[in-house]
């Protein structure tokens, strides 16, 4: 993409102003049932971004032309990298605690399989989805998982459409959802908050950020330890996630799909 568009001052200035406004609003706590929902500045920044999006509100083209808005896409991936570096810096100083928690960190990676136990039957039996369900539910649909589906079925296949759908939803709303879920579960006090921190690591960069950030807000006295655990877990996900999903999760999803009565030959269409 053209560098002029990627470096367009209107885009970056808008982002800076949106971020400043979001940061100024700060963290809000909303009681909900037995727990508390945490609203973080990153939510407001996203909402402000959507409200200024020229694809959604054509009046915004005067501030941000459509082609400039398109340039924001590639910037998401790059702007998450400084955060990843900040994240890694919480792991280094806590390395001894992380090694002590090693077995829990490694085994919780298998939690990825929980995905299909819940989501695959629902997709096939309730939503009557076809083979899209395999792509959509065999993993949490991050980049390495897409590579596997692309390699095995191609991205134009039903499986490919399934995983790309979850990928897009994850990119757009995963961050917000992870933060809400983590903050809420933490306020319920059922699971060890360090276990929740490790579970945050299953997501992509911004999901982990929002998720562990919400936990750190819920338990400020454990802040450094929680950030270190979720960072270490995320690193392991990148290192091992590919193999777990290729050799365990995908065959298991195929097996379960057949047991649920899905037809492997029939190509099922969305009724749009």
């Amino acid at each position: 993409m053209d560098m002029k568009l990627l470096l367009d001052w209107r885009l970056h200035l808008t982002v800076v102003l949106a971020s400043l406004l979001a940061e100024a609003i700060g963290i809000l706590r909303i009681p909900l049932g037995p727990g508390t929902l945490l609203l973080l500045p990153l939510f407001y920044a996203f909402i402000i971004g959507v409200l200024l999006n020229p694809h959604l509100f054509s009046g915004m083209q005067r501030i941000i032309p459509k082609r400039v808005s398109n340039a924001a896409g590639p910037l998401i991936m790059i702007s998450i990298l400084p955060f990843i570096a900040k994240f890694g810096s919480t792991i280094g100083p806590a390395i001894e605690q992380i090694i002590a928690a090693g077995p829990a960190l490694i085994l919780q990676e298998l939690g990825n399989l929980g995905t299909m136990l819940l989501a695959l039957p629902f997709a096939v039996l309730v939503l009557r989805m076809g083979r899209e369900a395999i792509g959509a539910t065999y993993s949490i649909a991050r980049e390495p998982n897409i590579a596997i589906i692309s390699d095995k079925y191609g991205l134009r296949s039903p499986e490919g459409i399934g995983i790309m759908g979850v990928y897009v939803v994850g990119t757009m709303f995963g961050t917000l959802y992870f933060a809400l879920m983590a903050g809420y579960l933490a306020s319920l006090n059922v699971l060890d908050i360090r276990a929740l921190a490790m579970a945050c690591g299953v997501g992509s960069g911004s999901m982990v950020a929002a998720c562990s950030g919400a936990l750190a807000e819920a338990a400020p006295h454990l802040r450094d330890e929680l950030l270190a655990f979720s960072g270490a877990s995320n690193l392991l996900t990148y290192a091992t996630g590919l193999y777990v999903s290729l050799f365990i999760a995908l065959p298991a999803a195929e097996w379960l799909y057949k047991r649920l009565g899905g037809n492997p030959l029939q190509e099922v269409r969305h009724e749009s």
Partner: protein, 162 residues
Amino acid sequence: MKADTTSALNAETLAELRPEQQLGKTALLLAAVCVAAWFSNMINGAPLIQALPGMVLLYAMVMLGLVIGRLVPFYLPSVAWVSLVSIAMTLPSFPGSAWVVEQLSHVNFLAVVTPVLAYAGLALTGREFTMFRQTGWKLVIVSLLVFTGTFVASAFIAHLIL
């Protein structure tokens, strides 16, 4: 139409996934997004001057990670390399790590993510809005189940072992 949507997403996604393939370009863009993060950090992090060394360190760590990712003969996502560089530089045994940690403490963890989500909100295209209107609702429900299932299962296993 569905297939076209997917392939367009595919090409764009793949280009986005490999920032280490175009280091010169990434270096400039990274500088721009770091400036955005630096400003975002003003309110709940630290004043601009105080946070400057930390932001420059983050910039350097990212570039170093991307260069390593470019040079090594096997593939690991660039986020993994960046994270490894930053872990290495903050290990207690790394020379000067105390100074590095001290500088980075002026950069607020969540403030760095705020601009990322602002970019994400601005980046939504007509394609995504259309997708959600048409067939997206099923995938949205499934996606939320996927996230919940993975998160709760992981947390549960970790809880049992801890």
